[in-house]
């Protein structure tokens, strides 16, 4: 098992990404599934606007009190849908935290704009360096190209499902991948169910593989 929990009483999860990646949808599906199963769930939008291209971070707190926001170093699991946004959640991580991280960047358009307008020299950092800065805090970082996996499943937009699959496939939560999908399928618009199902299963497979690897039975 890949365990990131800081306390035995609950699960604290951060989902981070950019607007349009479906961070809030993923958080919502997770909450609904766990609430249905009798868990106490509180969720918060940590920062950003849900509009396209902005940073979107969300917390899902399962059986761990009433606060929708967690303090420094209290995240058990981080689902990073985008490398810079995963790194932005660094203050919430500790050496125990488990991080599943998509390595495919979404370059903020302002980088180009700032260069053109000559104000600031923002650069998109090398993904390797971002992974390294997270690894400096926790050894349990699992980078994967979720965007590629999502495209293979039919839509680059299903990154959120790949990442959810990863988390649930690694058996991190008090509900199995099958439980989750049974609960989520009915909440996803009909036209998208098939692609999302493929993406979720593919993520779950990746999650299982990572778990086996971590347990030393490859």
């Amino acid at each position: 098992m890949i365990d990131g929990r800081h306390s035995q009483s609950g699960w604290r999860i951060v989902l981070s990404g950019t607007g349009g990646q479906g961070v809030l949808t993923a958080a919502r599906l997770l909450c609904d599934c766990l609430a249905e199963r009798g868990h106490n769930v509180v969720s918060g939008q940590l920062h950003g606007m849900a509009q396209r291209g902005g940073s979107v971070h969300s917390s899902v707190m399962i059986d761990s009190g009433i606060s929708p926001v967690m303090g420094t170093g209290r995240a058990d699991y981080v689902l990073g849908l985008e490398p810079v946004e995963t790194t932005r959640a660094l203050p919430l991580m500790s050496s125990r935290t488990v991080v599943y991280m998509n390595t495919a960047p979404i370059i903020p358009f302002v980088i180009g704009q700032q260069t053109v307008l000559g104000d600031g020299e923002a650069k998109y950092p090398a993904v390797d360096q971002l992974v390294a800065s997270i690894r400096a805090v926790t050894k349990q970082v699992f980078p994967l190209d979720a965007t590629r996996l999502a495209r293979e499943c039919g839509s680059g937009r299903a990154v959120n499902m790949i990442m959810l699959g990863c988390l649930l496939g690694s058996e991190a939560l008090p509900c199995t991948a099958d439980d989750f999908w049974n609960s989520a399928a009915g909440r996803i618009p009909k036209g998208l169910v098939e692609t999302n199902a493929r993406a979720f299963m593919s993520g779950a497979k990746a999650g299982r593989r990572l778990r086996f690897a971590a347990e030393g039975r490859v």
Binding site: I111, P125, S133, G156
Partner: protein, 477 residues
């Protein structure tokens, strides 16, 4: 709480304000539904002018009743569930709002239950009895609340009245800041200080410098076209007064469409004032909903005063910023206005609201009706408006891009692409528009096919004719 508020309001005949602050509005938790009360529809109105007309003779009596009802409210709240107290330590913590959740979390995380007594303040007026019992139970108090030290001053006063000498810490003592939203970290630090615990070292985590993702107008947003064209007509020196809505994002680079902003409807009156004082034609930007909410009085006033202003009404048929609530110009695509909660649904006979007729009714004679995506005509209208005298109005009609996408249920227009051969990297599209769909990587210009909404504005701007419509929508795979 909302349900209680309704019952409480009926009982006390007082208005109740539910006041969720920032974080509460961005959080969700489990809500258990109770039974819905019977719909009492239609409700009888029983005439009772002495109760409903606050002329002086009635108001004197009402004022006295108010004091009594207020006392009744405090008595009722005392029995409510909004003032829970937990723990039995001598160190007291008073918390209100979302800070209560943070304090409770810190107490759990650090195992402080036997050292502190946590008292929640969940409603106002704070019942005397609640504070009296709390002050009896503790030897000092830390007050955790965001912004104005309201509870802090209140509890100090309560202690004074009870002749209790008790230290009250919070903002006045410097434990907590007056400004900004709180966080669990901030509350934890204040509590550690208060309880004499060791400071928490957070220096171990080094976050590298990361590029930001500031909020911008969406790809395909018609406001971008309106701002760009108006600025081309009115120039850099004109003062642009903006208003409250998505269009406030015209602030700063690269649209520069917001030099002054105050509150709902302020754009028109500020433009009037500035035009009078500077003697220069001034532009006011205001969205459809904000105009309906609070634009009329200032516009009527400006007409009477013959102020030299151009009011640009950005009509996107919806209150987009707050979540796509209908505005007076919302329609269903077939000419029928949207429902506004009246007693019957709109039908073919329901009149469509006309902004043009409304402003003419206020006395504006020079009114231009444009589609900002018919760029040449819109630009011509702005240029005429710049040369006008007194008040003129340009109404820009074009639907909110995001709302259109929602209505079209995912069906999207063909995107635009940049022809590398023709693009000479002149920077114009990025410098003028700031559409997040246009990316520049190492000097190469390209359009993100996922983000592009196919509005064609950048193609209009590009002098090299380098931006062309993709033959069909390319789904980024």
């Amino acid at each position: 709480m909302t349900r209680y508020a309704f019952e409480f309001s009926e009982q006390t005949r007082l208005p109740v304000i539910i006041r969720p602050t920032t974080r509460v509005c961005h959080s969700s938790g489990i809500v258990t539904f109770g039974p819905l009360p019977d719909k009492r529809n239609p409700i009888e109105f029983t005439k009772d002018p002495a109760r409903y007309v606050p002329i002086p003779s009635n108001a004197r009596r009402m004022r006295k009743e108010l004091t009594e009802r207020y006392a009744e409210a405090a008595r009722l709240l005392q029995e409510s569930e909004f003032f829970p107290r937990t723990g039995d330590g001598k160190k007291g913590i008073l918390a209100s709002g979302v800070s209560y959740a943070y304090a409770a979390q810190v107490i759990d995380d650090l195992g402080l239950r036997d050292r502190v007594t946590l008292q929640q303040i969940g409603a106002y007026p704070i019942p005397d009895k609640v504070l009296a019992e709390f002050l009896q139970a503790v030897e000092s108090v830390l007050v955790v609340e965001e912004l104005t030290p309201f509870v802090e001053d209140w509890v100090s006063l309560a202690a004074f009245r009870q002749r209790r000498q008790i230290p009250v810490y919070g903002k006045h003592s410097g434990h907590l800041p007056v400004e900004y939203e709180y966080s669990p970290d901030l509350v934890e630090d204040a509590m550690r200080d208060y309880l004499g615990l060791e400071k928490r070292d957070r220096s171990a985590v080094a976050v590298p410098e990361l590029p930001s993702r500031p909020p911008v107008l969406c790809p395909g947003c018609p406001h971008r076209a309106s701002f760009y064209l108006a600025r081309r007509a009115f120039g850099k020196k004109t003062i642009y007064c903006n208003d409250i809505g998505c269009y406030t994002l015209g602030y700063g680079q690269p649209l520069h469409a917001c030099d002054v902003l105050l509150c709902m409807g302020s754009s028109i009156s500020q433009a009037s004032g500035i035009a009078r004082l500077t003697g220069r034609r001034t532009v006011a930007y205001i969205g459809d909903s904000t105009f309906f909410h609070s634009g009329f009085p200032a516009l009527a006033n400006a007409v009477q005063a013959a102020d030299n202003i151009t009011v640009v009404i950005l009509d996107n048929y919806v209150a987009a910023m707050t979540g796509f609530q209908p505005s007076l110009t919302t329609h269903d695509g077939e000419g029928r206005p949207a429902a506004h909660g009246g007693s019957h649904a709109p039908d073919a006979a329901t009149p469509r609201f006309s902004i043009e007729d409304a402003v003419r009714g206020l006395g504006v004679t020079e009114v231009y009706s444009v589609d900002p995506y018919d760029e040449d005509s819109a630009l011509a209208a702005f240029r005429k408006a710049r040369k006008g005298t007194g008040v003129n109005v340009v109404v820009c009609h074009s639907p909110c891009a995001v709302n259109e996408r929602r209505r079209r249920k995912g069906q999207r227009r063909a995107t635009f692409i940049i022809d590398r051969e023709r693009c000479n990297a002149c920077t114009l599209c990025v410098r003028m528009l700031g559409c997040p769909g246009i990316l520049v990587t190492d000097g190469e210009y390209a359009i993100d096919q996922e983000l592009c909404d196919g509005c064609a504005l950048c193609a209009y701007v590009c002098k090299q004719k380098a931006i062309v419509q993709a033959t069909e929508r390319k789904e980024s795979v």
